[in-house]
Amino acid sequence: MKSENVTPPTKKSLDKERYNRRKFLSALGIGAAGVSLLSSCERNDWYDQFKDNKDGATLDFKDDIGVLNYAYALEQLEAAFYTQVAANPASGFTAAQKAYFMDVQYHEIAHREFFKKALGANAIGSLEVDFSSINFSDAASVLAAAKTFEDLGVAAYNGAGVRLTTDAYLVIAGQIVSVEARHAAWVRDQISNGSFADLNDLSALGSNNSGGLDGALTPDKVLPLAANYIKTKINVINL
């Protein structure tokens, strides 16, 4: 446990600190995915403040702000994806599909901008995305990625709701997650009509078909999956 009266770090000491942290995490095999889970013992107050996204974004789950930033991170990812889909829609899409992808794009942008505005000075910075695994000119590839994002988004909100302590934020999360679920169902139906709520197919995300329950994952399960599409390193503390 470090003293709280640490000397303000120099660039060099920060780099060394980060290097050590990375080495430690990669030894545990959890740093490689781009997400690290730092125990509260490792937390440094100065590190908390040093959260410009060039060196990673920090999600501090000690309070609702952290949960909202977590949602903000996921909405950034979705908005960036659909912006790219809508800008150059795959030739295999019908006019109706293109129109609905345009809708979804604006929904995700609205969610992203809502969190940015609601969080104000507490918001994490912009995340750099990595969609190299997606072929945007191939309709099937885009739909598969959209399904991944939407189902994961639903499971993420469902799993994080219990952490929220403010009624208003809990209701907002509910207002957003049902729209994500509408997206998920629509995207799934484009891939295979009737698969809108195939709960057996969502078991990896925590669904339970016999209970008629959708996915629900805690942030430590969601972030490594999301990290496949995020270049920016995301640090997690107080989870």
Binding site: E108, Q175, I176, A184
Partner: protein, 295 residues
């Protein structure tokens, strides 16, 4: 002071202590962090505050009320679909195997929700509701043997596939809004996660039923609820109470319309579903319950 011993002691009288604490692990962390700063004499007070946080949730009665309220809605949905699939007085044909399969999938989920909620409530569960306790025509009259006689806002709900889909869409959108409205009562409670998992399944149903309705009626109904001056984008006037307030574009004090280029009023309304209060949902549910079974 040994926190683990204390937890062990509590476990003897409250087997659920770890369940109560686990969704709020941060409370434990807050406690440990606080422990570094406060004197030993103040610890019992801090400990008591930790448990107030963990237990300072809605009372069991309040939680059970929400679950029973949800159970009523799940009975309503289950019987509505189950009768469409099995009822001998249903005269419409599903236009395709896919359509029948979708309604079967939804019926099965609603049944699972009924069983889950009734099981979780145990002896606190409300009395079971049968198909004959409902009036899915909304204001119909029924014979002594419970067969349908005449009348009702949705008189042809089981003879006209289009009417059936309109009512189904209204039910699913109601369910989505109802769960959302009750979330604060379940705040911080493990049962909230289960409720959210049901809630998003209802939203998936709503999305699919809206697509089925759009196809069957040849209308442009979207999977998501778009802007309409009175909130109701379905064009089904009797469903107005289901969509009251869906035209809202202001969220937690933030105006969503034009929050970024391209986010029109329509996109703003679509991007956030709205909640209904319990009283609003009760009014809607009572339209479909026979008088003796109304909430």
């Amino acid at each position: 002071m040994n926190i683990l011993n204390i937890l062990d002691e509590i476990e003897k009288t409250d087997a659920d202590i770890y369940d109560r604490l686990s969704p709020r692990r941060k409370v434990m962390k807050d406690f440990y962090n606080a422990g570094k700063k406060i004197s030993l004499a103040a610890l019992p007070l801090a400990l008591s505050s930790m448990f107030t946080k963990a237990y300072g949730q809605s009372s069991t009665t309040a939680v059970n009320d929400v679950l029973n309220f949800a159970l009523t809605l799940e009975y309503l949905e289950y019987h509505f679909y189950n009768h469409a699939l099995l009822g001998t007085d249903v005269t419409f044909d599903f236009p395709s195997t896919a359509a029948r399969n979708a309604i079967t999938t939804i019926r099965d989920h609603e049944k699972a929700h009924v069983d889950l909620l009734a099981g979780a409530l145990g002896s606190a569960a409300r009395p079971a509701l049968a198909y004959t306790n409902f009036d899915f025509r909304a204001g119909g009259t029924y014979n002594a043997d419970n067969s349908y006689a005449s009348g009702g806002t949705f008189a042809d709900v089981y003879t006209n596939y289009q009417t059936f889909l309109k009512v189904a869409t209204a039910f699913e959108d109601t369910g989505v809004r109802a769960y959302k409205g009750q979330a604060p009562v379940l705040k911080g409670n493990a049962v909230l996660t289960t409720a959210l998992q049901i809630h998003s399944v209802e939203a998936r149903h709503a999305s699919h039923l809206r697509q089925m309705t759009a196809a069957a009626l040849g209308v442009g109904l979207k999977p998501w609820i778009t802007y309409s001056a009175n909130g109701n984008d379905t064009g089904v006037a009797p469903a107005n109470p289901v969509y009251a307030g869906e035209q809202n574009t202001m969220q937690a004090g933030v105006e969503i319309t034009n929050i970024a280029p391209g986010v029109t009023q329509a996109a703003a309304a679509e991007s956030f579903d709205e909640f209904l209060t319990k009283a609003q949902v009760v009014t809607i549910a009572n339209l479909f319950l026979k008088p003796a079974f109304r909430l």
